[in-house]
């Protein structure tokens, strides 16, 4: 007698398959190339993973996909962690992805490279954009964790270098999912309050994961937008974060940021002292030099004036002598006299027109007299 084969409904069979498959492939790791990626507005991701001879459908639900820091796209070689699931309605088995990593490198490394490339293209790292730091800031803002070695080191070095620094600490978390939002808020608040002239964004050393908030796009954009120049001081000298690239200045360590942000007070004071000393010395040099020159000039002037005066005297005497010699008075002095006709006051040079009885006036060196002509005789 033939045993009647058990007749199952499609649903029953599918259920059985589902049970078998899902039990057998509860945890799988698959590598392949992403193709036919669809990302509808629901936020879930649908794609296929394929290699040269096979492919498997994949679904990457929104919640899990949000944790992926890098951007995945068609053609990318990835490693997917997940389980096999059966979608009963369509009779499809698929890989339900819980986690995805790029093949050959860490997810964060890739995310870092991708964001770096994107922001570089937008010009966020341009050297021309970087603002100069104030030489002697009136107040310094420090955005960092209020506890731990970092803030202690910064305060210690500021104290050593300057003693009287004004520091405003804005405490934030510098690790974990909340960190980037708090850092962005801190940068915005500090910009709004306008109390500080420069900002230090600091964190101690850590793994790439620990430092991750400084590689987030929102932090990069907040630094870019800040009107206050920002010094980044994140991790150790070998750690480079996106924040470092955007910041106006990168300090290799938090301690170095404290060295950069303020000059050494002692060096400044010495410099001012030296300048003042040079200043006084230069005037001390210049005044005597000029005095000497004034003396020289005066002497030369007196000499010139003196010789001029001397020359003048000689000349004057000469002139006076000349004048004297020319003056009629000089002639009289030598015993000569001048005679004029009284009637017309004409100087008499000849007796021709002189008649007997005419009156004449004679001028001597000292005084005059009038006389009457008694007789004339031509020479």
């Amino acid at each position: 007698m033939l045993v009647e084969p058990k007749v199952r409904t499609v649903s029953e069979l599918t259920q059985d398959i589902k049970l078998v498959l899902e039990c057998a492939f509860e945890e799988v790791v698959v590598e392949g190339e992403i193709s036919n990626l669809r990302q509808p507005s629901s936020g879930h991701n649908y794609f296929s993973l394929k290699d040269s001879s096979a492919q498997i459908r994949c679904v990457f639900f929104r919640g899990d996909a949000a944790k992926v820091k890098f951007k995945f796209s068609d053609g990318m070689q990835v490693v997917c962690y997940g389980r096999v699931g059966v979608y009963e309605r369509d009779g499809q088995y698929q890989l339900v992805v819980a986690r995805m990593e790029p093949k050959g490198q860490g997810a964060l490394q890739l995310a870092f490279m991708q964001l770096k490339e994107k922001l570089a293209k937008e010009g966020l790292f341009d050297e021309a954009r970087k603002r100069p730091l104030p030489f002697l800031p009136k107040a310094i803002g420090v955005i960092t964790s209020p506890t731990g070695a970092v803030i202690r080191d910064i305060l210690h070095i500021l104290e050593r270098r300057f003693k009287d620094a004004h520091v405003v600490i804005y405490p934030v978390r510098v690790q974990g999912d909340e960190a980037s939002g708090e850092i962005v808020q801190a940068i915005e608040d500090m910009n709004n309050s306008k109390e500080v002239e420069v900002l230090i964004l600091a964190r101690g050393g850590g793994s790439l994961e620990d430092l991750w908030c400084f590689n987030e796009e929102n932090v990069a954009r907040a630094i870019y937008k800040s009107d206050i120049p920002i010094i980044s001081a994140i991790g150790h000298e070998t750690d480079f974060t996106i924040a470092d690239f955007v910041a106006d200045r990168r300090a290799p360590t938090p301690s170095a940021a404290a060295e950069i942000v303020l000059p050494s007070r002692q060096e400044l004071e010495e410099k001012i002292q030296h300048l003042m000393l040079y200043l006084k010395r230069s005037l001390e040099d210049i005044v005597p030099q000029n005095m000497q020159r004034v003396d020289d000039l005066l002497e030369a002037m007196y000499r010139a004036l003196g010789s001029l005066a001397e020359n003048s005297n000689v000349r004057l005497e000469g002139l006076i002598n000349e004048l004297n010699a020319l003056s009629p008075l000089g002639i009289l002095k030598r015993g000569y006299s001048i005679t004029t006709r009284l009637a017309d006051n004409k100087v008499l040079q000849s007796v021709c027109n002189l008649k007997k009885g005419e009156r004449v006036k004679t001028r001597l060196s000292e005084g005059t007299f009038v006389s009457e002509v008694e007789e004339t005789a031509a020479r």
């Binding site: 002697l136 520091v167 400044l268 001012i272 300048l275």
Partner: protein, 73 residues
């Protein structure tokens, strides 16, 4: 005017005086300006006060600052 500008001006004046190309009158003028600048620099340094503050945010979003107390080591 800022500390750095004053310091740079002072440096420039010292250089100019050192070059000895100015008239005596100009030299004395520059010297006097230099002394003033030096005084301003010193005063700026002396005027700085040590202050370490920490920001906290009130519920209404307003920022408050209070003195920072170093944690015990």
């Amino acid at each position: 005017m800022g500390f750095e500008e004053n310091l740079k001006k002072l440096e420039k004046i010292v250089d100019e005086l050192h070059a000895e190309k100015l008239s005596l009158e100009k030299s004395i003028e520059k010297f006097e300006e230099g002394v003033k600048l030096g005084d301003l620099c010193v005063k700026a340094l002396d005027g700085m006060k040590k202050k370490i503050e920490v920001v906290s945010k009130a519920k209404d979003g307003k920022l408050k600052v209070k003195p920072f107390e170093k944690e015990e080591e």
